[in-house]
Symmetry: C2
Subunit: 206 residues, 2 copies
């Protein structure tokens, strides 16, 4: 199987890395803090490696699993090292008080990230409506994706399917605005009507 | 059972009115065009009535089931006739090309409507993430609600439950921003990943 690179070492990075390793991919974990990357790689199944922060990632698919507030600086640190990559933006753009979104009006975190990656890279929004601990439990969850480039979207869709999730395309990258709002709604639902963070959305079709 | 007033006579008005009548309420249908209100009332079960557009609605709960673009003028036409009412805003705030939301940045259609209703009225966002034809088919669908006033929210929650739906509170009325984005996402999902408008979201809890 091919290599998937994950930049980040937090809860979501661990959850996605866990499912990715279990699916048989080689997972390259990269963090600004090499010790954190190593710790996550050590927790994963055979085949996990660590990469050098800022160097060209081993995977053609690179999962940007860092807080949104730090995403722009990570992309800047990588610069041309992201040439030609399919970048999965999983960021949650909720404000610190979890009542609103920090992305600019009429845009989304994903669109802002797309503006600063190399022109040959493609950004796909995905995973941001799933809670890490729910994702880590397994199960065929629904995973919404938004992207402009059809090939990048198809590759991420195949990757998500291979993790045992159901990819659901909601449209172009501008639809990341709705997915990021949905991420915030999941938080609102957890704190209010559901009363638990053990929640996942699924779509009844037909 | 008590009376529920519905202002509007389109597909969503008919779908909600149908379930409301079936649940045993008296449904008061009101439209700018009395013939349309009468036609919808005639289609409903025994107990449906029509009301006079702009006059005090018979129901304590008033469902504003008109296009968002016309909602402000309806509220203005009613003025103080909405004093003390619980107003359910079901509007879809998608742009005509279905790619973005028309509500002002940092606000929602529901919040804009809340600004212009009488101070004694309470606005609750609900039903906007459900497609009318799916709602009309029946079934225990998930219905997300957002509102600031706890009593108004509790009343709408009880009403929604009585229709055989599962009410799910996502938070204060500012969360209508996320529900309206979710409404747009449902359209994106229907046009893309699902490939059908026969879709509904549900939440796996726990």
């Amino acid at each position: 199987m091919s290599t998937i690179s994950i930049i980040g070492s937090g809860g979501m990075a661990a959850a996605i890395a866990g499912r990715t390793a279990k699916a048989g991919y080689t997972v390259e974990v990269v963090s600004r803090d090499p010790a954190k990357a190593q710790a996550l790689a050590d927790k994963l199944a055979v085949g996990a490696t660590t990469g050098t922060y800022g160097a060209i990632p081993a995977g053609d698919i690179v999962i940007l699993a860092v807080p949104y507030a730090g995403a722009a600086s990570v992309v800047a640190d990588y610069g041309d090292a992201l040439d030609g990559k399919v970048i999965i933006d999983i960021t949650n753009t909720a404000s610190p008080d979890l009542t609103s979104l920090v992305s600019p009006a009429g845009s989304s975190g994903a669109q802002e990230i797309a503006r600063i990656v190399p022109a040959s890279a493609h950004v796909v929004k995905a995973f941001n409506t799933l809670f890490g601990h729910v994702l880590a439990k397994g199960g065929r969850l629904d995973a919404f994706i938004a992207a402009d480039d059809p090939q990048a979207k198809a590759r991420v869709s195949t990757f998500i399917e291979s993790l045992g999730l159901r990819p659901l395309d909601v449209g172009g990258l501008h639809m990341a605005q709705t997915l990021e709002a949905l991420g915030l709604m999941m938080i609102g639902l957890a704190k209010n009507g559901a009363g638990t963070w053990d929640i996942a959305l699924n779509v009844d079709i037909g």
